[in-house]
């Protein structure tokens, strides 16, 4: 009996028929519709391909071109890094803090508040409201407010000025940022055992910040990894918001990002090989950040 149990225990985590059946729909569909296109795209990144003629092998030329033969790429890289460094960590903190702060209200209040925060993501194109607010003439809400308060005399072209355009993109990105990382935090916080908090209160935890640091964050580590990956993905992939607000091309390429540059190369100039190479470089940057964040999160638990 005992040996039988031991044998069973050693087999507990083995793949059996049931497990294979459960994982194969995902693995097959994933291989065909996600992985295979990525592999093709990586292969295309070493070629010249215009979607009409057969791809022509170029070796590493596309990659060299980014840094030596493309005046716009360094600008796009600089803007993307700035946007990622600012909106990534801030978006991560914001989506966690809002989920944490609403977690102690009653179910009805939490449902309403989380709906309010998530509504821009639910609408998809909600950034249009910022075009109205930051409109460059004296009728734009922010300009007319500042003029009536005598802070400025002439309307400011917020979205057409190099120094302000990118910061408006930052604000809008953060404001729209309560997406799946916020929702996953809400769901994760929901599943924390409330007895942990009661025990901690008895053990002498006196305020919500200590509670957050000693209980919530350690328990939430797996979910926080997920939400940080989502933030990395969205922080490096800013494009639609920048184009909608500041136009494409933006003034002096002040909001040109790697994503909008890649779309320009692929859609306007039909250089799919080069666009793929840009995509691979963007991926490498995100993968690097992902590894870094994984290391940081691991350290926080020790």
């Amino acid at each position: 009996m005992l040996t039988q149990n031991k044998q069973k225990r050693s087999r507990l985590h083995r793949m059996d028929a049931a497990m294979s059946i459960m994982v194969s729909p995902f693995l097959i569909l994933f291989a065909v519709f996600t992985l295979l296109p990525i592999v093709v795209s990586v292969v295309l990144s070493f070629t010249r391909y215009d979607m009409i003629n057969m791809p022509e092998f170029l070796g590493l030329d596309n990659y060299a071109r980014m840094f030596y033969g493309d005046v716009n790429f360094p600008t796009a890289l600089k803007n993307t890094l700035l946007l990622a460094v600012v909106t990534g960590p801030l978006g991560f903190l914001l989506s966690f803090m809002l989920a944490f702060l609403i977690s102690e209200y009653s179910r009805g209040v939490r449902t309403v508040l989380s709906f309010l925060f998530y509504s821009p993501a639910l609408m998809g194109n909600a950034y249009f409201i910022w075009q109205i607010l930051f409109s460059g003439d004296s009728y734009g809400y922010i300009n007319s407010l500042l003029i009536s308060m005598n802070i400025i005399v002439e309307p400011i072209q917020w979205l057409r000025t190099e120094s302000t355009a990118i910061w408006i993109v930052v604000i809008v990105q953060l404001w729209m940022g309560m997406g799946i990382s916020f929702l996953s935090n809400v769901a994760g916080l929901q599943n924390i055992d409330k007895q942990l908090y009661e025990a901690a209160a008895i053990d002498g935890i006196r305020n919500r910040w200590a509670e957050l640091w000693y209980i919530t964050i350690p328990v939430m580590k797996d979910i926080l990894l997920f939400s940080s990956v989502m933030q990395i993905q969205s922080a490096f992939s800013i494009g639609a918001v920048a184009t909608a607000l500041t136009g494409f091309p933006s003034v002096n390429n002040s909001t040109l990002t790697i994503l909008t540059h890649m779309q320009d190369v692929g859609t306007m100039r039909f250089e799919l090989g080069y666009a793929s190479a840009i995509s691979v470089v963007l991926f490498v940057m995100m993968a690097f950040s992902r590894i870094l964040v994984g290391k940081l999160l691991n350290m926080s638990g020790k």
Binding site: M22, F33, I38, L122
Partner: protein, 288 residues
């Protein structure tokens, strides 16, 4: 029980902090709901108010004419509007359920299996999330045409089923809240993986499953095919609404009305799922 709860609240919360946090949350909430209110307000504006300069935020003389114009616009189509509505509902429901179910099963195997292959597979899945989809459109199109699924419902459904984000979300959630001893106990008792999945894992993972469901539904409802659907009968409601309301500035009121109406299903699914997420109590008895 009651006394411990009272003590816990007294020790860790201050009234001042509670009030400040409530004010911040209300302020932030009002700020993020602005576009929705603006859309509803604009959909009720008569044409002259829509075109008014400077633009006004709130409607002054609300009218239902933008909504009333929609049936007429829809009747001008060759295919009846119900067909598009049915297409959209059917695709969204099939994709959402398939998406969540396939991801949940895979996530369970990824948490349970200790095999090297599964570990590598999960790492690949995690990292593919970071590959931007833009350059994948052409390879995907070649795959669709190789499979001969272009211009069928399958071209909507099949690529939308494997959810890398969903597998990752549910796997992380299971890692955080599935006690390994519980699964082992069930296995030693002779329960198979299917039974454990349905009776033990699914209930515990419910918040993550519902979160993925509302997220998947939002994307599925907004599906607009790009160059993969040519038959009118197979088009979706958002696509057709976009076509009929894209007819110049005179239709911008109706376009806003259509936008507002199209937001109702995802908002309804959101509220339904989210209030269920928030209803689940943590499984104190199951935790060790």
């Amino acid at each position: 029980m009651r006394s411990s709860k009272q003590r816990y609240q007294r020790f860790t919360r201050s009234t001042f902090g509670n009030i400040m946090i409530a004010l911040i949350l209300i302020g932030a909430g009002l700020f993020t709901i602005l576009p929705l209110i603006y859309s509803i307000s604009t959909s009720l504006k008569p044409l002259d108010e829509i075109l008014a300069f400077p633009p006004r935020f709130f409607v002054t003389r609300p009218t239902g004419q933008n909504y009333a114009a929609l049936p007429g616009l829809l009747n001008s189509l060759r295919v009846s509007a119900e067909r598009y509505f049915i297409n959209s509902i059917m695709l969204s429901v099939v994709i959402t359920i398939g998406h969540v179910f396939i991801a949940a099963m895979a996530a369970y195997v990824f948490t349970q299996s200790k095999s090297r292959f599964m570990k590598i597979a999960f790492t690949i899945v995690q990292f593919t999330i970071l590959f931007n989809g833009y350059t994948l459109a052409i390879p995907q199109y070649m795959i669709f045409s190789g499979m001969k699924i272009i211009d069928t419902y399958l071209v909507y459904i099949l690529p939308a089923l494997p959810s890398t984000i969903g597998v990752f979300l549910i796997k992380q959630f299971m890692d955080a809240s599935l006690p390994p001893a519980l699964i082992e106990a069930a296995k030693i008792d002779g329960a198979g993986n299917f039974r454990i999945f349905f009776t033990v894992v699914m209930p515990i993972a419910k918040p993550a499953l519902l979160t993925l469901a509302l997220f998947a539904f939002r994307d599925a409802w907004a599906l607009v095919p790009s160059g993969t659907i040519f038959r009118d009968e197979l088009r979706t409601l958002p696509q057709v609404m976009g076509q009929i309301t894209g007819g110049g500035i005179a239709r911008s009121g109706s376009a806003m009305a259509a936008t507002v109406l199209l937001m109702i299903p995802p908002i309804a699914v959101y509220l339904l799922c989210q209030s269920n997420v928030l209803e689940t109590m943590s499984n104190a008895g199951i935790k060790e």
